[in-house]
Amino acid sequence: MKRVQDFTVIETQWLNSTSYLLVLGSQSNIEEIRPGNFAEIKVPDAADVFLRRPISVYDVDHQNNTISFYIKAIGKGTIKLGALDNGSKVDIVYPLGNSFNSIESGNALIIGGGSGIAPFTLLAEELKEKNSKVTYLFGARTSEDIVLQDEFAKHGNVLVTTEDGSLGEKGLVTQHSVFNNITDFDIIYTCGPDPMMKAVSKIAESNDIVCEASLENMMACGFGACLCCVTPTVRGNECVCTEGPVFNSKDLKW
């Protein structure tokens, strides 16, 4: 069930100069979270941040009542969240949105760019439970931007592209050699900048591979009340916060 819940900052763990893990803890139980779900985080007492900020759930620990987020500090709100002292109060509205459809006993390729790596630990865990094999492909500008590799490596093989060639293969994700044998995969999951996801879905579709893309449209509410976050689909304009954030790429008319 969706709810507003009070949390306390347990830590903000900076991973590089522009991204961090925000770990929040609560006295009470944490709701069930499905891979792909997100939360709307209230940036506490910030003069210039009016609305909540939608952030995917990176990890959750039901034993210790903690929930964590992987956040790129790109603007006012995300910078302020990353500067919170331990012990600060933060409330979130969650769990929001739909989730990825994890396949059973299959071969999954997970492609992430930018902050779009956040939902993929939970997804990979679920895929593994269902006996599917996970390959990650992360793209970034430079090696500096590639973080949390050890974490992801726990769940699957990690491939990397960087635009400057400083780590993994040089180029854009869609230029990675894994695409030479793309039909080895039963499904592709992707999250990241729209152009990347569009390119990925195009390849997936032309190879008849199911592709699920998680969108990051701008949101005012996050739970279907405002109709601000729409994306055009074969069914008309649909809210990314309720019908998504995960869409089958074939349904998207972007």
């Binding site: 209230k42 609305l51 976050c229």
Partner: protein
């Protein structure tokens, strides 16, 4: 014990707190967060005669203490509402107010006609102030003759309370308020959003697909409060006040300025439980101030 009941043209609300059209979906979106039966009323998302896809994305821009929206009345049409949505939501023990919209007078009339005789729907909000549609919408609300014309036309076909929603984008809102009062409106609600605009200096482009959009949130509260006060001094029909109400104190201010009931809008996005908190805060204010009937607040400003 504080009496929280208020009366909008003979329609009794259990308390003055309702939710603003377009900011509360059809209520269902808030079912997980609050007990909807506690609300004075729900003004549902704007409805039109036919399905509307609304405007292109992006439809939203955050602004200082507010936001711009350019949703453009996306909805599946009045029939879908009545056949599919309303049966699901009519169970709640609160007043459901459809918010009706059109590009031409005939559209408004056609939508209103569909609402005639619908059991459990005891009034409608006639939106003549949507800034986010190309034709109709705000055009009706910024000219006195057209505001009167559309109100009269809907009045002719609909006999339950009509609440006409006014635009703040006018030189003299009292003129329009008096006009629609004369045309048979039972109440006026105000304000809709202020027409605004946001630019992204980095891309040199407008943030919204429609260039301009509607400004809501606390930023507009001083303007909304002023207009409620002006209209309160100009008409006799009850006022449903809104514009940037974020807490109980804001709601009290709108009542002191002359609102019989209030609508909570943008605040719902930031705190989906805020409407219920506002009811509690109004009650607490009354208790602390020795007020036994919330109606004492209406227009109670000491000048």
């Amino acid at each position: 014990m504080v009496n929280l009941n208020v009366d909008i043209a003979g329609l009794k609300l259990k308390n003055p707190v309702t939710t603003a059209s377009g900011t509360f979906g059809f209520g269902e979106e808030f079912e997980d967060f609050i007990d909807l039966n506690k609300l004075g009323g729900i003004f549902v998302k704007g409805l039109t005669l036919h399905n509307r896809e609304g405007n292109d994305y992006p439809r939203m821009a955050e602004t200082p203490s507010g936001m711009l929206n350019a949703v453009g009345l996306q909805n599946k049409g009045i029939d879908y509402f009545l056949n599919t949505i309303y049966p699901r939501i009519k169970k709640w023990d609160t007043e459901i107010f459809p918010n009706i919209n059109g590009s031409v007078v005939e559209d408004y009339v056609a939508v209103a006609e569909k609402l005639v005789g619908v059991e459990g729907i005891n009034g409608l909000e006639l939106n003549i102030s949507c800034p986010n549609v190309k034709e109709g919408g705000m055009a009706f609300g910024v000219s006195c003759p057209s505001a009167i014309a559309v109100t009269k036309a809907v009045r002719d076909v609909y006999d339950k309370p009509i609440i006409v929603k006014l635009s703040p984008n006018v030189t003299d809102i009292t003129e329009i308020a008096k006009g629609v009062e004369g045309a048979g409106a039972d109440s006026v609600s105000l304000v809709n959003t202020l027409l605004g605009m946001a630019i992204d200096a980095a891309t040199k482009k407008p943030v919204l697909s429609t260039i301009t959009g509607g400004l809501s949130g606390p930023a507009i509260k001083p303007v909304a409060l002023r207009m409620v006060w002006q209209v309160y001094n100009a008409v006799k029909i009850p006022i449903v006040g809104m514009g940037g109400i974020m807490n109980g104190t804001d709601a009290i201010e709108f009542m002191l300025a002359g609102s019989t009931a209030i609508q909570v809008g943008t605040a719902n996005f930031i705190d989906p439980q805020i409407s219920i908190k506002i009811i509690d805060e109004i009650e607490a204010y009354c208790i602390n101030n020795g007020i036994t009937d919330v109606n004492e607040l209406i227009g109670g400003l000491i000048t």
